[in-house]
Symmetry: C2
Subunit: 132 residues, 2 copies
């Protein structure tokens, strides 16, 4: 799909969501933050960890992914409120809901799920709209 | 505390963590991503939501906080893996573990907890080290 075609679809989707009815002072696009945590079936397998990280890196090629941060649990202080049991963190920024939808349906994303979903036992997703 | 004093403490802490023993090709600082989700005691109270958001905004003044994104659940597709039950998301970037520790102990952070902790019933934290 060409960039212009993709942009057309994105803007059409935003009209459908009523996101064009904002005041002049409000940006038309509200950044969407998509954070996914993966728990590996074999959390001690360095090979599986690397496969998952390599798979996640391919997602950066999707044009609507504005930032991609791949991480592992940090060695911060131990507190009950901190969940450090996951294996890999994937943090993405999108310009808008439409960009996230294009990502979800993108062949590269589908290929990633096909290649890597056997590696994980659990996925936890948080999507938020940035108020800044 | 002055900036130079703070920087001195940060670099001293990094030496303590052995983070200066990296190769020339590796950046000495690995960005730390700190993501906190808050569940309000009164999830339908717009006043409590605003109080929490206003409190979170004060945290941007802490020098080691490199990026602060305050968000609310996005209207993405409904899927079992997506948790959209939280009230507010706070996403922060730090240069390193030491920067996060300075933030945790900072008077502005302590004042935020004192002023706002009565508003929430649950907090969930994920800290990750960015591999990019």
């Amino acid at each position: 799909m060409s960039i212009s075609r993709r942009k057309f679809i994105a803007s059409t989707a935003m009209v459908g969501l009523g996101m064009n009815t904002v005041s002049a002072a409000t940006p038309a696009k509200t950044p969407l933050i998509h954070h996914v945590f993966f728990w590996l079936k074999n959390p001690n397998s360095k090979e599986d960890l690397q496969k998952l990280i390599d798979g996640l890196r391919t997602l950066a090629k999707i044009e609507t992914v504005k930032q991609l941060h791949i991480g592992v649990p940090a060695e911060t202080e131990k507190r009950d409120v901190i969940d450090n049991s996951y294996s890999v963190s994937e943090l993405m920024f999108f310009d808008d809901l439409a960009g996230q939808k294009i990502y979800q349906d993108h062949p590269i994303h589908k290929k990633f799920i096909e290649s890597c979903s056997s590696l994980w036992s659990k996925v936890q997703v948080y999507d938020s709209m940035d108020l800044n």
